[in-house]
């Protein structure tokens, strides 16, 4: 027995997926300003005194605009060109994509401006293989508005080089490349060195000795490369031979799951706000999927136009969901109901959604025979929506509690139809309706009268049942009551009690 190794898990080979977000800057711009999609569009960055175009849309490309031109030169070719500067907070979108990518692998490394690397060696089989794993991630990122070029290889830099090569071949269309195990050198051999980010000076040094591809670099003797190009040369030489053992640097998640959008023009209509909220909820959904969590409490902040008359300030709505939820459709339905009730003093300038409380998401079991699925909204989503409208405590399944005080003889539990329970029966006669607060009963002879919700009830007593004495909680605000079932004319039955402390009679329930 001791000779046999313990049943350790099979160690899976290291595999890394590199994901290039295609035309990332344009894509993130169109996420916020979809109306620009049909226009000739260019994103530029400022390099010293020059404004250099880095990405162009298809209409601009057809007009002759290319990356690398200055904005002035680009406008000369296409006078209708819309030039937009690179946003300073574009890394936030990349972080969102990184969080979403956690759905396919446990470790994600993020490289600005547009590259992700995901360790999938231990998780690809869960999706049915590497090809399916790639397809899944491309589907997830497409939901966020990003098309991708994806490559899988033994190491992070080989995979990244292959993904960049795919990007060059098809700059705007999704594609994938799986480099088989130990085939990194062969795959890189025909790729130009420019697929790996490096300075122009470095590439020129290599070109001077006739090295333009990884294959040519691999053919050089290792010692000669080290002598001439130093440490960096050695690293590239190893890469050209398929040696890529660098560990990924895990991306650290921010604490708050939050998303925000600004409107170009303040809007007083609900529909544009909901349109943007849908996009925000989609983004939050993917991020929560990546983290394996769901929202319990949301905060929707509406920034009001500060230039309008009464527009100073922010309108904040907090929504308690009652149970973990992350799907965007029900969240949007909840937001629609809540925001529809608002009366704002000024148009809305921006919207910010933050998840205040997170809970672990335990997944959802689909039901083949569940007909509610045909309506597009399941029971969970419906209950969350009702909980958000009335308060999470207002939607419940009752459960009997062994307490004498009638007001606390049951507890509110989450309605969970999959949970089965024995039918509990109250041991004593109890009414089906209990008044919110006992009403004083005036009893003279065989006549009673009581004022209930502004209505005066006068009746003749036909009979009164024997008492059920309930004495409890003497250690705090005690209760000592004799409860009776009272039958009044017409046959209605009341649940009344005599209070030992005051001696007065009260109506507490009705046998409805």
């Amino acid at each position: 027995m001791s000779e046999q190794a313990p049943s350790a898990r099979t160690k899976r080979p290291r595999r890394v997926m590199a994901v290039v977000l295609l035309q990332f800057r344009l894509a993130r711009l169109l996420r916020h300003r979809a109306e620009l999609a049909e226009l000739p569009l260019a994103v530029f960055e400022t390099v010293g005194p020059r404004e250099v175009v880095v990405e162009v849309s298809e209409p601009a490309r057809q007009a002759g605009v290319r990356a690398g031109l200055t904005v002035t030169a680009a406008r000369a070719r296409c006078p209708a060109l819309q030039a937009v500067p690179v946003s300073a907070d574009e890394h936030m979108e990349l972080e969102e994509a990184a969080e979403a990518a956690l759905q396919v692998g446990p470790t994600v490394e993020l490289t600005r401006p547009d590259l992700l690397r995901v360790e999938i060696g231990g998780s690809a089989h869960l999706f049915g293989g590497e090809a399916d794993c790639i397809a899944e991630l491309q589907r997830i990122l497409a939901k966020l508005g990003f098309q991708t070029a994806v490559a899988v290889a033994d190491g992070p830099d080989i995979a990244a080089a292959c993904a960049r090569a795919l990007q060059r071949r098809q700059p705007a269309r999704p594609s994938q490349w799986i480099v088989e195990r130990h085939q990194g050198a062969e795959s890189l051999a025909r790729l130009p060195l420019t697929v790996v980010p490096a300075s122009a000076e470095w590439l020129q040094r290599l070109e001077r000795v006739g090295v333009r591809t990884f294959g040519q670099l691999a053919a050089l003797p290792r010692r000669a490369v080290i002598r001439r190009f130093g440490e960096q040369g050695e690293r590239w030489h190893q890469l050209a031979h398929g040696q890529d053992a660098r560990a990924l640097e895990p991306h650290r998640l921010v604490d708050v799951v939050e998303a925000r959008v600004d409107f170009d023009e303040p809007t007083a209509q609900l529909e544009p706000v909901l349109f943007q909220l849908k996009a925000l909820f989609d983004r939050l959904e993917q991020r929560m999927c990546g983290r394996g969590v769901a929202a319990l409490r949301l905060r929707i902040a509406l920034g009001l136009d500060r230039y309008s008359k009464d527009g100073e300030g922010v309108c904040v709505e907090t929504i308690a969901l009652g149970r973990p939820l992350r799907a965007s459709a029900p969240l949007l339905a909840i937001a629609r109901e809540r925001l529809g009730e608002l009366r704002l003093s000024a148009p809305i300038q921006w919207v910010d959604v933050a998840v205040l409380d997170l809970a672990r998401y335990l997944g959802r079991q689909y039901d083949l025979l569940d007909r509610s699925e045909t309506t597009g909204e399941g029971l969970d989503e419906l209950l969350v929506r009702l909980g958000a409208a009335f308060g999470a405590d207002a939607v419940f399944a009752a459960s009997l509690a062994p307490r004498h005080r009638p007001e606390t003889a049951y507890t509110r539990e989450r309605f969970d139809p999959t949970r089965t329970a024995a039918v509990a029966v109250a041991p004593h006669v109890r009414p089906t309706a209990l008044l919110e607060a006992p009403e004083a009963l005036e009893w003279r002879g065989d006549r009673v009268r009581v004022l209930y919700r502004g209505e005066l009830w006068r009746h003749r007593v036909l009979g009164v049942g024997p008492p059920e004495r309930l004495v409890t909680e003497w250690w705090k605000q005690g209760m000592a009551r004799d409860y009776h079932v009272m039958e009044v004319d017409g046959g209605a039955r009341w649940w009344v009690y005599r209070d030992h402390d005051t001696g007065g009679w009260y109506l507490h329930g009705l046998f409805e």
Binding site: L191, L368, F390, V423, V429, V464, R493, G509, E512
Partner: protein, 247 residues
């Protein structure tokens, strides 16, 4: 460069699991349509055999509103509560929208109502109770929705409620306040029967059951004009224990 031919990427909006499930559901629906089964009952048993036999619809009609009127404390809530147990036996869930804010689960449990199958919604101050009932009826999640409104239901809201019942194939029972006018397929009066005048003040034989008289005020499908007398609601009429119960 020796790059591979790009592989087409599947439709980004498709969730494979959900798609497979939808395909299976489609097969199931076509089978049900072909064989005429599985469409669900058109009526929901009331949980009381006598009442089922007396009602012109032979139960609470699904896809319609049934209105119950009567004096307070006269059993008008206990009658529909019996159906919760019957629905649980058919693996259907029930909802109670408690606009009145007075539903008392221990009392319902005396009638054998499986509380775990009853989803209670208690809107604060009874506001938007009819809206909540409409949402639940439309969802197709519940076989029976019982509404206790605090305020009279507006005509437009009542119309929406009826449409929701029809869309969700759900039996909607409304314990109506005075003066309500609902587009109900069935309107019943529930009144208590006097158990008999005993001594004016003194011992009274306490019984577990309520004895009520049910009258038919309106029915789209005709029916008996004579009221159903002596309907006893109590533990003896309670449905069998929850079939899903573990113990």
């Amino acid at each position: 460069m020796a790059l591979p031919v790009p592989v087409p990427v599947p439709d980004s909006s498709a969730d494979p699991k959900r798609q497979q499930l939808q395909a299976l559901r489609g097969l199931l629906r076509s089978y049900e349509k072909r064989t005429g089964i599985g469409e669900g009952p058109l009526v929901l048993p009331t949980g009381c055999a006598r009442l089922d036999a007396w009602l012109p619809t032979r139960g609470w009609p699904a896809g319609e509103i049934t209105e119950l009127v009567g004096p307070a404390g006269g059993g008008r809530l206990s009658v529909p509560l019996l159906a919760v147990g019957a629905a649980a036996q058919r693996f259907q869930w029930c909802a109670l929208v408690d606009g009145e804010g007075c539903f008392y689960p221990p009392g319902a449990a005396r009638f054998g109502v499986p509380l775990s199958h009853l989803c209670v919604v208690r809107p604060p101050q009874g506001r938007r109770a009819a809206w909540a009932a409409e949402q639940m009826a439309r969802s197709r999640c519940f076989g029976l929705v019982l509404l206790l409104p605090r305020h009279p239901i507006a005509e437009a809201q009542a119309r929406r409620l009826r449409q929701a019942a029809e869309a969700g194939r759900c039996a909607v029972l409304v314990v109506a306040p005075k003066g309500s006018t609902l587009p109900a397929a069935l309107r019943l009066s529930v009144e208590p029967e006097v158990a008999g005048a005993g001594p004016r003040v003194g011992p009274y034989r306490e019984r577990d059951e309520l004895r009520v008289r049910v009258g038919l005020l309106r029915s789209r499908s005709g029916g008996a004009l004579r009221p159903l007398r002596g309907l006893v609601l109590g533990p003896q009429d309670a449905p069998a224990p929850d079939p899903l119960a573990l113990e």
